[in-house]
Each structure stands twice: as C-alpha cells, then as structure tokens.
C-alpha cells in the first residue's frame, strides 16, 4: 500500500466508520451463532457410569450429548475422579446418578466442580434390596437348599466387603432387574423433560419404546429361566452384584471372595470355593476375568461346575461387543447363565 493510503486510513473519519462496521458485524455474528445453537442444540448430560450412560443415550436420542464418568474399564466402587471429570460435570446441565451409595465419590466431585444443574436419581422408586438378604428363596415352597453362605456368613461378608459393600447396606445394583430398568428409564425421561421441556414429548416417546423392549426381554428371560429345574439354578460369583437378578429370575447367586482383585489366592480360598461348589451342587462358576484362567479351569474341573466366563456386573462391555448396551449386556448375562445352568446330558 502507498504511504498516502495509509495516511488516509488513519484519518479519524475513516476510523470511526471502520469501527462501527466491525461492531455491527460482530453483533450479527453473535446473534447468528446463538440462534444456531438453539436450533440444533443438544442437552449436555453427565451419567455417572456406563450403564446409566447407555440408558440416557437411548432415552435422549439425538437431543442429548452424554458424557460418562466411570468408563467400562474402571471400577465404580473404587473410582477416583480427575479434574477432567469435574470440568465435564460443570459443563453439563443434567447429572444422572444411580444412588443407593453406589457413587461414594460423587458428592465431593459435584461440590468441587460447582455443578448447578439438575440431578436425576435413576433409582428413585425402586424397591431396595438389602445386602446379606437371604432373599434368594424361590416363591414356591420352603425348601431349604443348604445355603452354604448362610452357614458360613464369613465368605459372603468377604465378597461384599471387598466390593465396598457391608452387610445390611442397600444393594445398589438395582439395574440387574429389568423391572427396575424400566423405572430407571422413566425417571431419566422425567428428568430430561424437566431440564428440557421443549423436547419432553420426544423423551417420553423414546422412553416408552425403550421400556417396551425391556418388557419383552424381561418376559423372555423369565420364561427361559423358569424352564430350568430349580436345583440347577445355582452359581458362584466373585462379586456380590446379582442380588436383584437372582430375586427377579429365580437364580441363586452365591458370592465367594478371595479370587478377584488379588495377586494370588491362598490354598484355603481355592479349597473353600471348590467345597461350596461341590456341596451346594453349583452349576456354574463366574469369576471376573481378573483371575488366572488356569485357576478358574482348575476350580471348574474339581467342582464339576462349568466355568461361566464373564458376567457384566457394574459396567458395560467394550464398544464393539454385544454387551456394549444395557439390553445387550442383559442378554449376554442371561445367555451365559442359561448356557451354564441348562441340564447336562452326562
């Protein structure tokens, strides 16, 4: 540019006009983007763990953007929040949590992040089960089936204490019963509707469809388990997370501690599991895949039970596997159990 033009630019008149033009352009840009956000805006929601996260995605559809705090590879019982989680929480307008003391780390995180949005208690209205309930009797008959875990409460205690549960506490794993899952879905829908009334109808419609699918699956599973003789419906798990499942579908879960999350078991732990498996005529053993598979195979061999593999208790499976969604996870768990429990032609 020639020096004359430069001088001209600096003249006050030109400057004033330029500034006005810029301001005007800036304001219209801002307004345009604001209206753009409103038109395709998604509701930012934070779910505490993967199962809730999936449910929120189902109910909220494309109108929500979900962030999950405890991913599939972490343990919600032992989770330690990071600053990134605090930021995610702060940016959200809705927080969906399980409750029932499942997320011990949440109150502090919520306070630290300064979250001011809506909190949705997913388990509101659920009939709560207590840990240590011998609530695994079948509805028909008072048959005593040699509950070894009653006779030796120490074992079950260990399992629960390991997972941060204590005898008499509320059992937080309510989602393991599809009837509760339906309650969860409705609560989530109601919460989303409250936070985003414009899309309330959308959310309720989606929830209804979701609940219908749950109902269908629930009936299917109930029928499948009912078809199996009762004395075969007994398994060992290493994690006391399936109480609701057991009550709902008539399966007896005997939690035994000492194998998962441990560097090396003692001979007594292994012997105890085998003994329980033998004496209670356990059909299957489900031990988290943390344990050495060699050990798991040995237990199966000696107790006559089948190694069931993995059951998803507190989290979904990895992204491209069937158990990556709540319904998928349920089908998977039920499928594994059915496979293990079905009568063997020996």
């Amino acid at each position: 540019m020639s020096s004359e033009k430069l001088v001209a630019l600096h003249s006050s008149a030109v400057r004033r006009r330029l500034l006005l033009g810029l301001a005007g352009g800036g304001i219209s840009l801002a307004m345009a983007s604001a209206s753009a956000m409103r038109a395709g805006e998604t509701l930012p929601v934070v779910a505490t763990f993967s199962i809730l996260g999936d449910m929120v995605k189902e109910v909220g559809g494309e109108r929500v953007s979900v962030t999950i705090i405890v991913g599939v590879n972490n343990d919600a019982h032992r989770f330690d929040p990071t600053p990134r989680d605090a930021k995610a929480l702060l940016d959200a307008r809705v927080l969906v949590l399980n409750g029932l003391d499942f997320e011990a780390w949440l109150p502090r995180l919520a306070q630290a992040s300064g979250f001011s949005g809506l909190q949705v208690l997913a388990s509101e209205g659920v009939k709560v089960r207590r840990l240590g309930d011998a609530g695994q009797h079948d509805h028909d008959g008072h048959e005593q089936q040699g509950h070894d875990h009653d006779a030796d409460p120490g074992h079950a205690q260990d399992a629960r204490r390991e997972a941060g549960h204590h005898h008499g506490d509320a059992d937080p794993h309510a989602w393991q019963d599809l009837s509760n899952g339906m309650i969860y879905a409705r609560n989530i829908a109601a919460g989303l509707a409250r936070a985003d009334p414009r899309n309330a109808g959308y959310y309720e419609g989606r929830a209804a469809g979701y609940v219908a699918r749950m109902k269908a699956l629930d009936n299917e599973i109930k029928a499948a388990f009912a078809a199996i003789p009762r004395e075969r419906r007994r398994v060992i798990t290493s994690h006391d997370a399936f109480g609701y499942f057991g009550d709902a579908y008539g399966v007896e879960f005997i939690p035994v501690a000492g194998l998962s999350n441990q560097a090396e078991p003692s001979a007594r732990d292994v012997a105890r599991i085998i003994k329980i498996a033998r004496d209670s005529h356990i059909s299957g053993v489900f031990i988290e895949n943390m344990t050495s598979p060699a050990l798991a195979r040995q237990i199966a061999r000696e107790s006559g039970a089948v190694m069931g593999g993995t059951l998803y208790a507190d989290a979904l499976g990895p992204a491209d596997e069937p158990a990556a969604t709540y319904l998928g996870m349920f089908s998977w768990n039920a499928g594994r159990l059915l496979y293990v429990l079905r009568p063997r032609k020996d």
Binding site: E264, R268, V270, A271, I274, Q298
Partner: protein, 299 residues
C-alpha cells in the same frame, strides 16, 4: 481330626492340592541340584538375574499367543540365552566384567518384559506371570514341569563329572579336554529351561527361591556334591509340601508360603547344620577355649 490327618487331609480331599504338590515337587527335584551347582560356581545371584532376564521372552510369547505354554517357554529360552550370550560377549570383548555386563543386560531385559506385558495385558496378568499359579496347574503345565525336571536330572547325571571338574578346577579340565565350554553352555541351557518351566508353578519372582534356598541349606549337612544335590532336592520337596499346607491352614498365598518354608529350612540349617552351622561354630569355639584354659600356666 487327629494331628496326622491334618497333615494329609487337604491333599486327599482336593485335586488341586495334589497337583500343586506334584508340580512344585517336580520342580524342586531338578531346581535343587541346579541350585547347588549355581552356588558352587559362585553364580548364586545369576540365577535370580536369569529369572528376570527371561521375562521379555515370556512376554512376547504371551503377547503373540496369549497364555500359551509353548510360546512362553520358547520365548523365555531364547531370551535367556540371548542375554547370557550378549553379556558374555561384552565381557570378553570389552573391559567390562562379566557380572556387570550380565547385570546390565538382565535389567534391560526385565524392563522390556514389564513394558511388553503392560502393553497388552492388565496388571493382573503381569502379576500372574510374576507369582505363578501353583494352585491352578493343568495337565499341560504339569507335563511340562515333569518333563523338564526329568530331562534336567538325566542331563545332570550325564555331565556330572565334567561339570564338577569345571566348577572345581576349570584350568585342569581345560588341560584335559575341550568339554569345558560345552558343559558351561549345557548348564546354562538347563538353568533357563528349569526357570521357564518353573515360572508357571511359582512365578518368575519365586522360582529362584526354590532353586537357591534348599541348595544353600544343603551345604550345612552334606560333604559331597552328590550329597548336597540329593539333600537340596529333598529339602525343596519338603518345602513345597509344608508351604502348601501352610497356605491351606493359614490362608496365605501359596507360592510365597512355599518359599518361606524353604527359608525356614535354610535358617534351621544355618543354625544347627553339622557342617559349619552356627551351633557347631559356637561349640567348637567353646571347646577350644576349654582346651586352652586347661593348659597350665607357666609359673
């Protein structure tokens, strides 16, 4: 339950206890004699270093084929030999001494191994490699341990004379025959083979324990090499038995329990062993003092 029954009941009742005993006893039978030679050749720490050196081979086997016995064994053997060869090469061609070069190589090897395992597996799987699964020995593992031990014992018997000579007077052996280096290599092979088979039973951390502790203890009881070998094997088997019982009754992890029992055997040997044990030393010192006190004083 009577006291005697306590001693065998867990093994009678549970298959996994019998297998654990079979596996660790088989391992101890070969590891003990090998340990005796390690000590005689002043390679005691080398055994431990070798156990760490084979880790990346095991890790690579694990990464490529999961928890496959063959893959991990082959991997372990290759790495162990590679580390030994490289260390020996550096020691021969540069001013660095053999123990330093070996230390350098095995540490690098260990780091690589831990890295590789953490890449794919979770920490749990690393821990299983480190601690073994003596309580979960399946047929494949049992077979491997038994076969390895048998081969080791047979080979040891074959090369016994030159091996002893090579430990006792390598220069003499060199003047008589060329078997020296061959025997050295064979011994290293046996060592690596036993370590690799043993890590399934006791894990890489503890397998050296069952090799060195009974051997170190045997020295306090036996005067000949063969005697020490036999005692080391026996002590190892006993430690396995006692350790498993201890794990059962005291509810503690199995492989450390076995090693602790071996350690107790060692301490008893150090204290009470007739060949230079502490009690002997004290007794002899006292006897000597007594003798001197009896010498009449000159007036």
């Amino acid at each position: 339950m009577s006291g005697i029954e306590l001693l065998y009941m867990p093994f009678a009742e549970f298959g996994f206890m019998r297998r654990a005993l079979a596996g660790s006893a088989a391992l101890a039978l070969a590891a003990g004699p090998l340990g005796v030679f390690l000590i005689l050749r002043r390679m005691s720490l080398m055994g431990d270093a070798m156990a760490h050196a084979i880790l990346p081979g095991v890790a690579v086997g694990f990464l490529t084929a999961g928890l496959s016995l063959t893959a991990m064994t082959v991997g372990g053997m290759l790495t162990g030999l590679l580390v030994a060869t490289l260390a020996a090469g550096v020691a021969r061609l540069t001013p660095q001494r053999e123990d330093a070069s070996f230390a350098a190589f095995y540490l690098v090897s260990l780091g690589v191994g831990v890295l590789l395992i953490s890449l794919r597996g979770s920490n749990m799987e690393l821990i299983h490699v480190l601690f073994g699964t003596v309580l979960g020995l399946d047929d494949g593992a049992l077979l491997l341990v038994s076969a390895t031990s048998s081969v080791s014992l047979v080979v040891l018997a074959l090369v016994f004379r030159p091996l002893v000579m090579e430990c006792l007077d390598p220069l003499f052996l060199r003047s008589e025959s060329r078997m020296g280096p061959v025997v050295h290599v064979v011994f290293l092979l046996l060592l690596v083979m036993t370590l690799v088979a043993g890590f399934q039973v006791l894990g890489t951390l503890m397998v050296v324990g069952i090799m060195m502790l009974p051997a170190a203890a045997a020295r306090f009881w036996a005067v000949s090499v063969a005697g020490q070998m036999a005692l080391a094997a026996g002590a190892g088997v006993f430690a396995s038995y006692a350790g498993l019982l201890f794990s059962y009754y005291a509810n503690v992890p199995a492989s450390p329990a076995i090693i602790l029992c071996a350690g107790i055997v060692y301490f008893i040997s150090v204290s009470l062993g007739p060949q230079g044990g502490l009690w002997q030393v004290v007794r002899q010192a006292r006897a000597r003092r007594l003798r001197f006190s009896r010498i009449p004083e000159r007036d």
